[in-house]
Subunit: 165 residues, 3 copies
């Protein structure tokens, strides 16, 4: 249930958060790169990094986008210029932890995930496992990420990160 | 929540759909082949095929059942005549997308899935990943598949498809 | 929803059970061994065993704790004396089956699971797949396991079972 709270932010329960992540992962699975940036606010920061870097507090990652323009640019680049083998990803949501609220009402939460990748003609593999550390706000009538940091548990990304996580 | 709609079809929310898939997968995990056909309507069509065939619009699949009689026949054949190593499957539901309604009120939806198989004495493996494209109706007081097409992302099924998906 | 029933036990729906498992798995993923014993009642029995042993009705398992004192001891031993490579586990809940009620109102249920393990610097692997057979009660205002039997589908645990399941 998403209800408008007094501070303009939503009263969001676990089911609504899970539905939001479900829509986000469905967008990625359909490789709908045009719809992907709309899951972020204009001032969003998006980062994908290893757990080692995250634990050391290092800002380095495989992908870093500071603001929606960079996120849209990433989507466009992927659609227009990248060359890669056809593949299909499937995302599985794991544990959901609500870790707090920002002073302005934004939700802080973490979600465990598993991403299974199948390169065309090959067998499915465990592509990535880890968790995301997210800040979610109600923005223009829907939930969006204001901050999304995907922290994978392994040392590096197998092959390369083509589609976002 | 499953409520009776004016057209005899149910008002079904995401949670009710997830519960329905949960029951379906639990039936498969228990290898309860006698209970499996009851998840389908009498006029149901059940197909398992690769994403390549599905994208090309080809009707070919590993399993095709046209009607409940063929579905029951499949279950009986598996119980009575098939010889295979003991195995255990575990199913994990991924993204759920409600894609529309048929004119008669049937729900069209897609569910990402992961099936993990353990042959007795061996390590668990990723048996299959993909999505199902389903049509679900309320029939004799419960949800049932009127159409279920399981589309796996990989080129072929590892070993062979013993139990249905 | 968790409501107080007439017998002092809770009226618990599927969503509340899933939230409980979510909290339990989140505790394990954070390797919060100090918080782990609080998921069990004082008289709880905790067992991890293979499906072969479970089917034969054998009491033998990789871990057996009879009572909360043994559970706390296990947590302390793991924290204080065990030597193991750093690793991260991710848990994914599968099918949930409510299988009945004990005469005193305790819930009997089974949950399919997948545990993915990543040893530091390595790729993620399927660590364990199976189901748990649980008895859950409302105890001092929250849900707790009175009995938890984790039955893995494979013949043995890869490497060794460091963290509980």
């Amino acid at each position: 249930m998403v209800e408008s709270g007094g501070d303009g932010n939503a009263v969001v329960d676990r089911a609504a958060l899970r539905d939001f992540y479900d829509e986000y992962f469905a967008c990625l699975e359909q490789q709908d790169l045009e719809a992907w940036p709309a899951f972020f606010t204009e001032d969003a920061r998006y980062l994908v990094q290893s757990i080692e870097n995250q634990r050391c507090g290092l800002p380095i990652g495989d992908v870093f986008c500071d603001g929606a323009a960079m996120i849209r640019d990433r989507a466009t680049a992927l659609r227009s210029t990248s060359v890669y083998e056809p593949r299909q990803l499937r995302h599985f949501a794991g544990t959901l932890r609500l870790t707090g609220r920002e002073p302005d009402g934004a939700i802080r939460c973490e979600l465990g995930y598993l991403a299974v990748e199948t390169i065309a003609g090959e067998a499915p593999v465990l592509f990535s496992a880890g968790r995301s550390i997210d800040e979610i706000v109600t923005d223009a009538g829907r939930l969006r990420f204001r901050r999304r940091t995907v922290v994978y548990d392994h040392g590096y990304i197998r092959n390369s990160l083509i589609f976002p996580l």
